[in-house]
């Protein structure tokens, strides 16, 4: 319960912090931290225009996207408090329920019959397909290390395994989760949300035709997703046994830190060429595979 509240809480500030970081980094004063929330309110109040080409899919896709991320967040534990739902191999459910949202976003893009959106849909489908193995290999590594197969158990028991290499996993985990979060949310270096050329966009081009309430839902889902991944990053980097207040503080700090990193990355880094994206994502898989090899070495399977 605490975790969920914290996720929602951080989701409220997350985009603002990114924006703020970016503007500071580029030497502007920038909007307030709650500016994205205000934008949401504006979107909510707007009237809606739909394309005549679209069908019911287009209308329900944002809803399903949001619902899927809500469901996914129910699995995320916080500190040593188990999640709402924690069961064996629940991260499979996590990945797959997110895929449901993505599935609908992709087909809703195709629903508009626009060439641009088809392009974006294709890229979204392609890149998220490539990113899946990295996530699963890393979780397999964790499962192998701890002997548990649910988020709650893994993260509670993660630091209890008295392994010297725990920090390595922690670091790799943080790195991987950051990158996967970037891919899932179509951020740098895969995609640039602020680009102005439709031909190079991924996520933004998918929602070109959404407006008003639907667009607000999409934004909410996106913010929540960030927060959920931030929460995963927190879980992997902080031992579960610590004091609950300390945990809360650390959680907020890490979410903040995550947002700042994203902001800085987006300020100082150029986005990949589209063709390089697939290599980039495969690199992630390679990294998580390295983690797996390490676990094999430390458990003494290779002398």
């Amino acid at each position: 319960m605490t975790g969920l509240i914290l996720i929602i809480f951080s989701a409220v500030f997350f985009p603002g912090i990114i924006l703020r970081t970016k503007s500071i980094a580029s030497g502007r004063k920038g909007p307030g931290i709650l500016q994205p929330m205000k934008d949401l309110r504006v979107l909510m109040m707007k009237d809606s225009v739909f394309s005549k080409t679209t069908s019911i899919i287009f209308q329900i896709a944002p809803v399903i996207g949001l619902a899927s991320i809500i469901c996914a967040s129910l699995i995320i534990p916080f500190a040593n408090q188990p999640a709402f739902f924690s069961f064996e191999s629940d991260f499979i459910f996590f990945a797959y329920i997110l895929a449901v949202g993505k599935f609908f976003m992709i087909i809703s893009a195709l629903d508009t019959g626009s060439g641009f959106e088809g392009m974006g849909a294709n890229r979204e489908a392609f890149f998220s397909m490539l990113a899946e193995p990295a996530f699963f290999i890393f979780l397999a590594t964790l499962a192998m290390l701890t002997g548990y197969t649910s988020f709650s158990d893994i993260f509670t028991k993660f630091y209890i395994t008295d392994s010297d290499f725990i920090m390595i996993f922690s670091l790799i985990g943080v790195y991987l989760f950051i990158q996967i979060a970037m891919i899932e949310n179509s951020r740098f270096p895969i995609d640039d949300p602020k680009t102005h050329l439709e031909l190079t966009m991924i996520h933004e081009v998918i929602i070109l035709d959404n407006c008003g309430f639907d667009k607000a839902l999409i934004h909410i889902a996106s913010y929540l997703k960030f927060a959920v991944y931030g929460s995963l990053i927190y879980n992997i980097s902080v031992p579960a046994g610590w004091n609950i207040f300390l945990q809360t503080g650390l959680f907020l700090f890490i979410q903040f830190f995550f947002a700042v990193i994203i902001g800085f990355l987006e300020s100082f880094r150029a986005r990949n060429k589209m063709i390089k994206n697939s290599y980039f994502i495969l690199t992630l898989t390679a990294i998580s595979f390295i983690a797996f090899v390490i676990i094999i070495i430390i458990t003494g399977k290779i002398a």
Binding site: S48, V49, T53, A67, I97, A99, F126, F135, A143
Partner: protein
């Protein structure tokens, strides 16, 4: 009593040839329902009521072989799946076949319905028979009847060729199975699955298993043996493709399971072989599916993919058996079994929907479709549900079986040795890739075919199919949702079947509780998801009711004259994937270059095609080569007597020489 009814059905099936054309369908339906009634009652007895298998004497004492039926839990499970899919298929056929009544002859229908009935009967008997010869006979009757079903539109030479290709491959498979049975019989004196355990206990397991695997794998469609599948399914009428892809290819899985259950040694190697082949089938199957433009061929490749998933489960289960890892065994086999059921559901649903599309648009090429969701809302909804389920997405049924297999792998990772760990990891990667690629593929298929604007007139002037063609969709969707949301009722029996079949230690109560708990949580999460969606939709509606909603053109970046030809096509959707996977897929592009001198370019054409590498290199080229060389032998019949005498002369001389040198 029941056995008499069953025999009566068998005899009455011949009556189709004498029934007036108008009532043939009804006659078939009555017989099918009777068959379903009988076999379902047996299987429910075997599955839920009895602990012991049900034996039915078919009064076959007069015959040469033992035709008595024997239904254990595995048979019962397959029987139920067969029953359901056959029923939906026949319901679907009612309207689907209507247009053909005008152009086809009564005999075609007699043959068709007769074959359908016998496909059902043979499938149900294949899973019930114990005697080897009886099994083989029914196995081949199954191939034969499905062949007759595939060639329903046999006026088309291509379809005929495809059908014969299918029949021959099935026959080759049958010969492998037959030889394997005979080898086992030679060792033990018993013919049939019962002989395998004694045979395996004192002979090498791997060779005989490979023979069975090839034989059954041909039916199931494992990767290098799959080539008949993508051809036969598009050729067949849709209800037939639904039944064939849905349940008939699973008969191969049934056979493999029976053989695996009898294995005594070499389990680890065999498990690895199965897993390896299945991974290839799964990943390559879905990769090839992505580049297909024919809706039914795409689905056929997905059958290969799903057989791969089932195979992964079986392979893992076998590895679990080898390592005495009951969890892996249970989850692997259990997942595979459940996926058999699941796949039979959503694949038949998808094929029926594809058939409906074909029925009303007269095309299966997704590049020619588009915007069908407005014209055919129910069909589209069924296709969407099928797509979500086949991608293994919650809260649909596909997720449950994939979850079981995944969870078996993840659970077994802890504390395994290097080999097993790498195998499990490859299984995980494979399943993940399959899942991602399936999403890619079905977003493409659904998005291009059903959404957007109609790309051609064929798609523009369509209408929803009549209710009898939709009804199976409702039935299947209901079951899909029940499995997705109340998975406990299906997973636990599946576990029971596995413990029964492999005689492993079942789950004790506490472990059982854990599983029930897991599944309940998944179910409730699914429920929450659906609830959230519904709530959000209602809120959205409420919210929008106070706003002004207007409709306009799709945003065109300032270009306002966009038409349906500006839409993304299936080819372009798959393009970046195709580029990446080209070494495997070898898709070819034919384009006309624009010359420098073309100031005003004329109309140009662009054509892409994909080939099946396995089909070409493993089946087609060797086949061509063999047939060619065989034909070369056939130059002896020259029509000249002196040549004929020469052969005799040479043969006598040759035989004498061989005799003289004591070579024979």
């Amino acid at each position: 009593m029941d056995s008499f009814l069953f025999l009566t059905i068998i005899f009455l099936s011949f009556g189709i040839y004498f029934i007036p054309n108008r009532y043939k369908y009804e006659y078939t339906m009555i017989l099918l329902l009777a068959g379903i009634w009988v076999t379902s009652s047996w299987s429910i007895q075997a599955l839920f009521l009895n602990d012991l298998p049900v034996s039915i004497d078919l009064h076959s004492g007069l015959l040469n072989y033992d035709f008595s039926l024997y239904i254990d839990k595995l048979s019962a499970f397959f029987l139920l799946a067969v029953n359901f899919t056959s029923l939906t298929g026949l319901i679907y056929a009612y309207k689907y076949l209507k247009p053909y009544y005008r152009i086809k002859y009564p005999l075609s229908f007699s043959i068709h319905y007769f074959s359908y009935l016998w496909l059902y009967l043979s499938m149900s008997m294949v899973v019930m028979l114990q005697d080897g010869i009886a099994f083989i006979i029914l196995w081949e009757i199954m191939a034969l009847s499905s062949f007759m079903l595939v060639i329903f539109n046999a006026e088309n030479r291509e379809i005929m060729k495809t059908g014969i290709n299918y029949l021959i491959q099935m026959h080759i498979g049958m010969i492998f199975i037959l030889l394997a049975f005979l080898i086992a019989e030679n060792g033990t004196g018993i013919m049939g699955f019962r002989s395998l355990k004694p045979y395996f206990s004192d002979h090498s397991n791997i060779i005989l298993f490979m023979m069975f695997f090839i034989g059954f794998g041909l039916k199931a469609g494992f990767m290098p043996l799959h080539t008949w599948l993508p051809q036969a399914h598009p050729a067949a009428p849709s209800h037939v493709s639904g039944v064939m892809s849905g349940i008939m290819i699973k008969m191969g899985i049934y056979g493999i399971l029976r053989v695996v259950a009898s294995l005594q040694s070499d389990l680890f190697i065999i498990g690895n072989i199965i897993l390896f082949v299945s991974l290839i089938s799964g990943v390559l199957g879905v990769m090839m599916a992505i580049v297909q433009h024919d809706l039914k061929r795409l689905l056929a490749y997905h059958s290969i993919e799903n057989i791969g998933i089932i195979g992964i489960g079986i392979g893992l289960g076998t590895i679990g058996l080898a390592g005495k890892n009951d969890y892996l065994c249970l989850l692997g086999f259990g997942g595979a079994l459940l996926h058999v059921l699941n796949h039979s559901l959503f694949k038949s649903l998808l094929f029926y929907s594809a058939g409906s599309v074909n029925h009303s648009t007269r095309t299966r090429n997704i590049e020619e479709l588009g915007g069908l969701i407005k014209k055919m809302p129910y069909t589209s909804a069924f296709f969407l549900i099928g797509s979500l389920a086949i991608c293994g997405l919650p809260p649909f049924n596909g997720f449950i079986s994939e979850y079981l297999i995944y969870s078996g792998m993840f659970k077994s990772l802890y504390g395994t040795d290097l080999y097993t760990a790498s195998i499990l990891l490859s299984g995980i990667i494979g399943l993940t890739l399959i899942g991602g690629l399936a999403v890619f593929c079905f977003t493409k298929a659904f998005g291009i075919a059903f959404l957007g604007q109609p790309r051609t007139n064929k798609a523009k002037h369509t209408e929803e199919v009549p209710f009898p063609m939709l009804f199976p969709g409702f039935m299947i969707t209901t079951v899909i949702m029940i499995i997705g949301l109340a998975s406990t009722f299906f997973v636990l029996p599946a576990f029971e079947i596995v413990t029964d079949l492999f005689t492993i230690k079942g789950l004790d109560q506490s472990e059982l509780n854990i599983y029930t708990d897991n599944l309940m949580k998944i179910s409730s999460l699914g429920g929450i998801f659906i609830l959230t969606v519904i709530l959000l939709i209602f809120y959205r509606r409420y919210h929008l009711s106070s706003k002004k909603v207007s409709y306009g053109k799709t945003w065109g970046c300032g270009y306002t004259a966009g038409n349906s030809r500006h839409q993304y096509t299936a080819t372009s959707f798959a393009d970046n994937f195709t580029c990446l996977a080209n070494p495997v897929l070898r898709s070819a592009k034919l384009e006309e270059k624009i010359e420098d001198t073309d100031i005003f370019p004329k109309k140009r054409h662009f054509h892409t095609s994909s080939c099946d590498v396995f089909k070409d290199y493993i089946i087609e080229y060797p086949k061509e080569f063999l047939l060619k060389s065989l034909k070369k032998i056939a130059v002896m019949q020259t029509g000249q007597i002196n040549h004929y005498i020469l052969y005799t002369f040479l043969f006598i001389i040759g035989a004498l020489l061989l005799t003289y040198f004591e070579l024979i």
